[in-house]
Point group: C2
């Protein structure tokens, strides 16, 4: 997408109208009222309509004398294709199709949407929409939308798949005095998607923060690539709706698109540095914080409060995050004691008590901001009798502007404190009414996802070398198998990828049995190898716990004798020898190919109750070692790996290696739909994939 | 506490002042301005002060001619005792001690607080505070506090341990137009506690909802009793601060009281029907919902929205609660189709699309409210171009007033939608800006905790009969033991409480060994019984897997022979026979005596990683069967008990019985500090406490 595509020097409004109730009127009026400096051309098929809103009207874009960079479509869907064809001929670069009546209405609309997409491709005209609200670029005062409010300039960009969410965000913004750089309504995202826009906005100098409401994600792989690149540069906050099954059903009924499984989305966001908001409220809080608060240099927080209770509540909230209460320097405490009344609490949370006036707030702030143990300051105010709300807000505001520390004001209450809140909002500085929300937002801005994304760059997904022969052999098995692969062929596949499995050998006679048993290492297990016998134990075809060569000979004879007796006609090849596994902890590795996001790998506590205990974390392939470290960090059972209850640590490297191999296996062989290793036995010095199965597409 | 204690017919303000900055001025002014109809007596020690704020001033309460029901104290702490003594003589029933300088300042203050408490007891004068904000009773227009705002009349009562939280609540209320019945600031709660007030408010006809901010809970047992009785009658919403360790530390530094362990508080609240709020925001939302919304008759929710996106978000939020999306009646869908445009979605969530005007909202509401499958309706509005915000609000408001269904308006946005929000607030009807918060509140009001509390009445804590002999024997062991009890004496205690332990018997010769083995049931284990042998296995003193009488004889001989050979001088008593336990699932029972709340019982998945998996739920003793059902319901591993993965269900009754017995054991024997059964082996038909230990005080 070209850099200047959203900054047209001229714009045509196809379907412009004089009728106030029509969108063709509202959009044209929005463009004029917004103060757009480029050329504006109303287009209306009616030749009698000479002028619209004071501007000369044309019956077709082809009749417009000058060059046209962008066109907004407000005509019925059935007429869009032909008008777009004309735009193509006129070399229009951007078509903003606000008109509805496409994919979202079913078969007929799907056809129309395909048609305009074809025309767009032919003429290299990019399409925003159809079925969208339009877009806004405050830097050129362009409001090419029918949004009922126009935002002030700011550094937040919005990308929304719902027009209504756009209007709600704009309405919230005009109440809270929050500014925006860009505003995009994606509509059916037939051509321009969130991926194009994230890529565009990551390079946009007017944008510091990107917030986005999405109902589905079109291309998982490309999303991961672009979102990663974007989130290295600036915070990318996404509210992804359709988390629940019923929510996903509601989406398909209204946009006709498939919602991906939420677990995969969670993994995708984590791996690409996306900050996931679970409500509009969170999204607003965080966007405002990222755009108005200074980024803290660490996670140590000081609390200044004029009341104990709120201080305790804030401390509670901090403990639920990765933030920490700062230990104040001795010097700081000394200085505080000098300026605060004797009943004040000079330890963090610092209680400057109920009669604190603005000056006392300022004095405390002056001292705390100089403490090298403090990265950010939560400043709480409750409206008590002698509280100077406005004056305090003004002094804090000054501090916020000059301080090197992050200062977050929290004014608790409603009516009275609003006089203070207004002061912050008018000056575009973040302010909160509730400590819990302030703490949540501070946590988000304190933990630099871009640093983490830097680490990702150092530890990219790990590709292992797999010989063509291995690939060929595995492919062969996969293609010649039924839907389910278990037992030896499953082991064979894992073994080809150098994942440790139980050692085994085939022995066709007693002598071989003895030699191979020794080679595998005692104790071993013998099982009869016969194509005619399914239930081996029932015919005496299994002997466990063979401890030495002598026993091995005995066991061989016994098995052959037993089987001959029970099934005289069975063909006997010999015995298969397995090493005997005892001890070790049961873990689980799973993989599932998500139709949208590709292979998703799970790791966690194994055994028979893996689904009940649900101590499993997920990431999308390809995995990096960094991803795996993060996966392990999310598990309760990570303590077992580290060596819980006085036990030695387990073989973490083996777990990481195995997960990397599984990630490669899933990527190399798209035939595999699901994979299940349960248990993966983990010891102090090795891992073994004990019970393995594949489900094919 | 007497019923009319907070409705005095006359009130003295001790420390009333003409100086505007003094609390003595502010409180007196608040009382006068509030419109209190009783007699008001300013008291000021200065005889020159003839009148204060136009009222005759007295130098002492004793000088006041008439009766005095209540007195407010605003004088320095050192003078409170003598003034209180005078009040006592004057038969004042209630002393509201706003003055600070008591327990919260340390040793000196503790003495003063004890002194006033003694005087209060002597004269039967109840004390609110000291170190509090005062109290408000809107029914008699009494504002006996220095709160800077006075609330309007309403049905919410507030009990707060923090004065600042009181002011924040009042300020929020005046912004949101929320009304209150009573407002109590507890201060140091030297005499009147939350328990007294809950008890009082549960019977108060002017109060429908109680909200409370608490930092500590004084008497766990009495709290449970009163809170249970209160929550049967009306919702009791508590925000308990000091959840985290650091939060608790902050509390003790500022109120000098001990915070209880949060796990115990969680259990206590669950068992007494308290609705726990985790933030002021939640507390406000829920209080307003309980007091303004109709109580739904079930959990089936319909969503009406003018935009798809918010509908999806709301559905997502519902899925995270116990609420369910209603399946609309066929008839409803037919009717909706008649009134809605073709592109509307007539399935739940019902999308009446972006151009919906007020009439379309009303028509949809009319239809949905008649659907018998619907208990409550979430009505979403986003501010789109043709949205009639005010008109829609007015029509919804009418519906809310007349409908039998619960209707919850959610107006998403900020500035524009505020014109609608104002209409609801002015009419004291709940309204939300965010769907997630509306859903959370609707869940709270949909699940009738008073019903649940009714069940609690039917299933009270279960007391089992324990013979005096048993009590005596157990007590004996406990008193003669060291700090730790494990092995046989621990088994003995449990056995005395009829908790199944491993069967065992002592046999002094081969014949007895054979007889007792048979009685216990094969397979069995023999262990040598000798006071001189500690490591029994090392001397061949253990034989496992004894399958029949013949083997039992052999095993006896072998053990005796082995031991004689290894330790010729050891005294041999015989062997101890144990039943052999194999199979079964490992569960865990723990008990811990909380210093404030008494014995807390935990149950969950057992084994060596109990602390890592943390699938354990807690309740306070005495337990009822209902409590235990709830405990099991909170566990992930409850599925194992019910029979997961095609396995048979485990012996739930045995688990319940054992927990009831442990609950009784902990109550009967305060010497036990902690108890640990891990594992409790659970089979399909029985349970066995396998490894048991006690820690004593």
């Amino acid at each position: 997408m070209k850099k200047n595509i959203f900054k047209p020097r001229s714009i045509a409004i196809i379907g412009a109208s004089e009728k106030r109730k029509k969108l063709g009127y509202q959009v044209l009026k929005n463009i004029i009222d917004g103060g757009y400096k480029g050329k504006i051309y109303p287009v209306n098929i009616n030749p009698k309509q000479k002028k619209i809103l004071g501007l000369k009207s044309y019956t077709s874009v082809l009749k417009i004398p000058g060059k046209i960079d962008a066109a907004v479509f407000l005509i019925p869907s059935t007429f869009v294709a032909s008008a777009l064809e004309e735009c193509g001929k006129k070399k229009v670069k951007l078509a903003v199709v606000i008109s509805a009546g496409f994919k979202e209405i079913g078969d007929k609309g799907i056809g129309l949407e395909k048609e305009i997409l074809k025309i767009g491709k032919k003429y290299k005209t990019k399409i925003l929409g159809p079925n969208c609200l339009g877009y806004i670029d405050t830097s050129i005062n362009l409001n090419a939308s029918f949004a009922p409010s126009y935002p002030k300039k700011g550094s937040i960009a919005v990308v929304s798949q719902s027009g209504a969410i756009c209007t709600a965000i704009l309405d919230w913004a005009s109440k809270s005095n929050v500014g925006f750089s860009k505003f995009f309504s994606l509509g059916n995202k037939s051509d321009i998607t969130e991926i194009d826009l994230f890529s565009y906005l990551s390079k946009d100098e007017e944008t510091d923060v990107i917030i986005s409401y999405l109902e589905n994600i079109a291309e998982g792989k490309e999303f991961r690539n672009i979102a990663t690149k974007t989130s290295i540069k600036k915070p990318l906050i996404i509210l992804k709706a359709g988390v629940s099954e019923k929510g996903a059903a509601a989406i398909s009924s209204h946009t006709g698109s498939l919602a991906g499984s939420d677990q995969a989305v969670t993994a995708l966001f984590k791996q690409s540095g996306v900050i996931r908001a679970n409500s509009l409220e969170d999204m607003f809080d965080w966007a405002e914080s990222f755009s108005t608060l200074k980024k803290p240099l660490g996670n140590k927080v000081a609390i200044i409060t004029n009341a104990g209770g709120p201080g305790v509540m804030t401390t509670d909230a901090i403990e639920q995050t990765k933030l920490e209460l700062a230990n104040l320097d001795e010097e700081t405490i000394k200085k505080l004691k000098k300026v605060l009344p004797p009943s004040a609490n000079t330890h963090n949370p610092i209680d400057i008590i109920g009669d604190a006036d603005a000056i006392r707030y300022k004095k405390s702030l002056d001292i705390i901001e100089k403490d090298k143990n403090v990265d950010s300051i939560l400043l709480l105010l409750t409206p008590q009798t002698s509280t100077q709300i406005k004056e305090t807000a003004k002094l804090i505001l000054k501090k916020i502007k000059t301080s090197e520390k992050t200062i977050v004001p929290i004014f608790m209450g409603g009516k009275k404190v609003n006089t203070g809140i207004d002061i912050f909002e008018k000056n575009s500085k973040g302010v909160f009414e509730y400590p819990e929300r302030a703490v949540k937002a501070l946590e988000k801005i304190s933990f630099c996802q871009s640093c983490e994304m830097g680490i990702r760059k150092i530890y990219p997904p790990k590709k292992i070398r797999v010989s063509p022969d291995t690939k060929y052999k595995v492919k062969n098995i996969l293609q010649s198998s039924d839907k389910l692969i278990a037992g030896s062929p499953a082991d064979f596949i894992l073994n080809k990828y150098k994942i440790p499995i139980v050692k085994s050998a085939f022995a066709k006679n007693k002598k071989e049995a003895s030699i191979f048993s020794k080679k595998i290492g005692f104790p071993v297990v013998f099982k009869i190898d016969s194509p005619d016998i399914i239930h081996k134990s029932d015919v005496g075809g299994v002997v466990v716990g063979i401890k030495n060569e002598k026993d091995s000979g005995k066991a061989y004879d016994a098995i052959i004798k037993n089987v001959r007796k029970s099934k005289p006609r069975a063909k006997i090849n010999g015995v298969i020898i397995y090493e005997m596994i005892s001890g070790g902890m049961d873990f689980y590795i799973g993989a599932k190919r998500d139709p949208q996001y590709g292979p998703m790998i799970g790791f966690g506590l194994g055994g028979i109750y893996v689904e009940i205990l649900k101590d499993v974390s997920f990431r999308l392939a390809p995995l990096s070692e960094f991803d795996i470290e993060k996966m392990l960090g999310e598990l309760r059972s990570t303590k077992i790996i580290e060596g819980a209850r006085g036990k030695k640590a387990l073989y973490k490297k083996g777990i990481i290696d195995t997960l990397i191999k599984i990630s490669n296996l899933m990527i190399n062989h798209p035939e595999i739909k699901e994979l299940d290793i349960n248990p993966l036995k983990v010891f102090e010095d090795r891992v073994i994939a004990l019970d393995n199965r594949f489900i094919l597409e």
